[in-house]
């Protein structure tokens, strides 16, 4: 009997269903109390359940990892809202890319600068640089800069979560209310997690955010490449 229960408790299908159930619960909570961000409540409930049931993360991930694989297709699927908004955005596209380029540069400089001022090691500073862009890009940029990809992935997730939770409120406080401006700011700062939050309230904001997120990913990769070339030109390699 115990063996049967143990078998079921470690079956991947259980972890798929568990993840879906936690997600469904978090959407209910969000519908009832709009300020509870679904990703935050879902993560807290799931972490608690895994801890309470003594399920190791590696075991959970045999089923939960399925959803991580779907992040690739979901990123590609962002093409549909981008295309649908494309006609309206055609005139603003050059200005939007300028805005996102500025945001990406400021993001890398402040992330690295503050980490460095707080006494972080060179590897940690490099790990923070790509934290505003979506996970697959950030991890590769971090590797190219000799950062720690795992630390970068954590920074990316926490940045997206914090941006999704408080980003819209901060923009409202700063009286930045235009759909295009909100979309650009959330997409450039909080990548796919922020974008997903915006889609729940506004199709236009979500689409601009998808576009800004893709642009930020490209600009951050290019800026990191330039940084590497600059260090190589200095002849010192990585300081």
């Amino acid at each position: 009997m115990i063996r049967l229960i143990l078998h079921l408790l470690t079956h991947p299908a259980l972890f798929i269903v568990l993840t879906l159930a936690v997600y469904a619960l978090s959407l209910r909570l969000h519908a009832r109390w709009a300020w509870i961000h679904p990703l935050l409540s879902a993560s807290i409930v799931l972490i608690f359940l895994l801890w309470a049931l003594h399920i190791p993360y590696a075991s959970y991930n045999t089923g939960g990892g399925l959803f991580t694989y779907l992040l690739g297709p979901a990123t590609v699927a962002l093409g549909v809202p981008m295309y649908k908004q494309g006609i309206k955005l055609k005139a603003t596209l050059p200005r939007l890319s300028l805005v996102v380029l500025a945001g990406s540069a400021v993001g890398m400089i402040t992330a690295g600068g503050v980490a460095s001022l707080c006494g972080a090691s060179h590897e940690m500073v490099m790990s923070t640089l790509p934290k505003s862009v979506t996970t697959p890009i950030a991890v590769e940029v971090s590797r190219s800069l000799h950062g720690d990809p795992a630390v970068t992935a954590a920074m990316v997730l926490l940045t997206g979560l914090l941006g999704g939770v408080i980003g819209p409120a901060i923009l409202r406080l700063a009286r930045i209310l235009h759909d295009h401006a909100v979309g650009a700011a959330i997409g450039a700062s909080s990548h796919a997690i922020g974008t997903a939050s915006l889609f729940r309230s506004s199709e236009v904001q979500g689409s601009v955010s998808s576009l800004a997120m893709a642009m930020a990913g490209i600009f951050t990769s290019v800026l990191a490449m330039l940084l590497n070339l600059y260090w190589r030109a200095q002849g010192a390699g990585h300081p």
């Binding site: 991930n61 690739g72 939007l96 700063a174």
Partner: protein
């Protein structure tokens, strides 16, 4: 289901190009090619719209397992906790306000401009 097949095909195309040496991640290459294919009419919106909307609407779900995975690396994060947290918060605020502020200045008058242009056309 056709939509899912097309979307995954573009992702694989992107991953393949990345392996061949294009310095952008596979899924981002897939996104760029997929958007181009839609714009050029190679892929029709009605083939992919339902699958894509489904994936995008539930993107939050896809991040839940990764968030739970953060518990496995608390030691590394705690060692550099203050620096990483300060960097995260400062940089998030900086990006939000620079991007939002600049976009507000450069993009916000677009709709008004459009209305004016239409008004110009009136006799």
């Amino acid at each position: 289901m056709l939509g899912f097949v097309i979307i995954v095909a573009f992702q694989l195309l992107g991953v393949g190009l990345h392996r061949l040496g294009v310095p952008l991640p596979g899924s981002v290459l897939g996104l760029i090619l997929f958007t181009l294919a839609l714009m050029l009419g190679l892929v029709r919106l009605e083939w992919v719209e339902r699958s894509a909307v489904f994936l995008v609407r539930h993107m939050t779900l896809l991040f839940i397992p990764l968030m739970a995975g953060l518990t496995t690396m608390t030691a590394e994060l705690r060692r550099n906790g203050v620096a990483l947290l300060a960097s995260l918060v400062a940089s998030l605020l900086a990006v939000l306000l620079t991007t939002g502020g600049l976009a507000h200045l450069l993009l916000a008058d677009d709709e008004i401009a459009e209305i004016n242009r239409e008004a110009d056309l009136l006799p």
